[in-house]
Amino acid sequence: MLNVEGLTKQFGGLKAVDDVSFHVEPNTITAIIGPNGAGKSTLFNLIAGALPPTAGRIEFEGRDVTHAPAHEMARLGIARTFQTTHLFEEDTVLDNVIIGHRLRTRSGLWDAVVRSRRHRAEERECRERAYEALRFVGIESLADMPVRLISQEAKKRAAIALGLATQPKLLLLDEIAGGLNPEETQRVMGLIRKLVEHGYTVCFVEHKMHMVMSLADRIIVLHHGRKIAEGTPDEVRRNPDVIEAYLGGAAHAAGE
């Protein structure tokens, strides 16, 4: 469903992403790993349209989307979370998530001012989608809480819910389990599995090896912007380049 070819991003003299090609099959989980600064977040930014690539080509569901801006990508069905959550701390969880479905609505300012039927219908629809998404990620009961009062884990779930409300096909999750303890990480892993079961496709960046190894169908390893390995968890775990550049002693842990 996602096809990346020769993707390159240059910041000044630095090639943050360097000639990366890969392919994501629908309804699978792909993990992207690599040392800090390897270009993982940049790669996500490129796919999501937040940054224009220097060279290369991105295809989504057979369409060339190399130069589509981020909001267009969202409309086409790519949702993402950020390495640091960007929720609106003062608003409630529900209010944060409602806006996610706006891109599927068509009412504009005029509808809002005259409170047109369409507007009311679409507002209801957005609310329903938001509740649906919150229910899916398991925090429906927190809907009316201000975001600043909820836990880290709940925030991560809210961020996913926001993505889900856009009705995506592909989700890009950047270090979604960062800062979570093992127990919480387990629960988030459960959620990711649930996503795939419900037909979504997931790409994620993570440094927690047990999570990567047990979730991913395929793993792509970046180093200095270049793809140094790709394969199943077993293949990657044994790859000496990966061990040297990234895993170190954790290779054993990852193997357990």
């Binding site: 706006r102 891109l103 009412s107 809002a112 990620v137 856009t166």
Partner: protein, 339 residues
């Protein structure tokens, strides 16, 4: 349900109060202070959309106020237009000019945007002030006609003008409210929160910023046209940066981002400055510090006071929050099992 009923009753009461006000307050001086406050409030609602909702500090608002005012006044004086088509033209011109400025200014960010728009405001002010041939320079335009009459009802009387401005104020508040509680409005709030996130959930950020900017200039333009029609006289001073500062002041004192804020702020500050006149030459020695104190002690404006009280109450319920979280975790536990 209940709070909604109360709110509706409150809003209706306020509406009726606004209608009855000029009948109760017949003193022409107070009426003028109130009407001018309404007019400034309308322009400030525009500022609230761009600053309060979208998070962009635009310092050109008074310039656009002037564009609206001069468009309307010149059309009436030079081409003998009626007030109403002139007002419409003022709206259109400030929209179009706002759009053109938006295209260039919104490419800049943060401080650059603020100073860019300040420069636009200053340019508009200077052009209006110096273009003697068109605007009659700082002498200004004399004898600008009022709204005329609709059938037998004259709107040119003090009472008539009050109701004209009042209707526009109500419309402005309505637009501000419905925008705040609509999907496009939420998109603006999302932009204020984080442009990256807004973009990622499919908001064409640039388009929405332009929308907010253009709306703000349209509000300013209409307010300007009302001002010209109400005063009957128009000078370039109302387009100076100080007027933009005044609007910001109304917004901050009233409560930035809130619905009541602009009106509340405009009324309170207007009456405060009238009151301070008794201190003559020393009034600014008092007004300056009062302003600083208000900003320091009510950073969210007066409209936020009830919210602050509510929040304090909410804090006492923090225990409830903890419990709800525990419940949520259980809920997500089922997600895990579902896997």
């Amino acid at each position: 349900m209940k709070p909604q009923v109360w709110r509706r009753a409150g809003v209706s009461l306020l509406l009726v109060l606004g209608l009855a006000l000029p009948l109760v307050v017949s003193n022409g001086y107070y009426q003028q202070v109130i009407v001018l406050a309404y007019i400034w409030a309308i322009a400030t609602y525009g500022m609230n959309i761009i600053l309060g909702y979208t998070g962009l500090l635009s310092l050109g608002q008074a310039g656009f106020f002037g564009v609206g005012a001069y468009t309307a006044a010149l059309l009436m004086l030079k081409l003998n237009w009626n007030f109403w088509p002139a007002l419409l033209a003022a709206l259109v011109v400030s929209l179009v000019l706002g759009y053109l400025v938006a295209i260039v200014s919104l490419r800049t960010r943060g401080h650059y945007f603020a100073i860019f728009t300040m420069a636009v405001g200053v340019i508009l002010n200077l052009v209006i002030d110096r273009w003697n041939g068109l605007t009659n320079g700082e002498v200004g335009l004399v004898g600008v006609p009022g709204p005329g009459s609709i059938g037998p009802v004259s709107l040119d009387s003090d009472l008539g003008k009050y109701y004209v401005v009042y209707v526009f104020l109500v419309v402005a508040v309505w637009i501000a409210w419905s925008l705040r509680h609509s999907l496009p409005g939420r998109a603006l709030l999302a932009i204020r929160n984080s442009e990256d996130l807004a973009e990622a959930i499919g908001t064409p950020v640039m388009r929405f910023k332009r929308l907010a900017f253009v709306l703000s200039t349209a509000f300013a333009g209409v307010a300007g046209a009302l001002f010209a029609g109400y005063m009957g006289y128009l000078g370039p001073d109302v387009t100076s940066i100080n007027m933009t500062f005044n609007m910001l002041l109304y917004l901050l004192i009233g409560g930035i981002g809130s619905i009541a804020g602009p009106l509340l702020g405009a009324l309170i500050v207007s009456f405060l400055t009238q009151f301070l006149q008794i201190f003559q030459d020393y009034q600014m020695l008092i007004f300056g510090p009062v302003l600083v104190l208000l900003i320091i002690f009510f950073p969210g404006g007066l409209a936020s006071v009830p919210r602050l009280i509510r929040r304090r109450r909410a804090r006492d319920h923090a225990a409830a929050v903890a419990m709800a979280e525990a419940a949520a975790i259980e809920g997500s536990g089922s997600a895990k099992e579902g896997a």
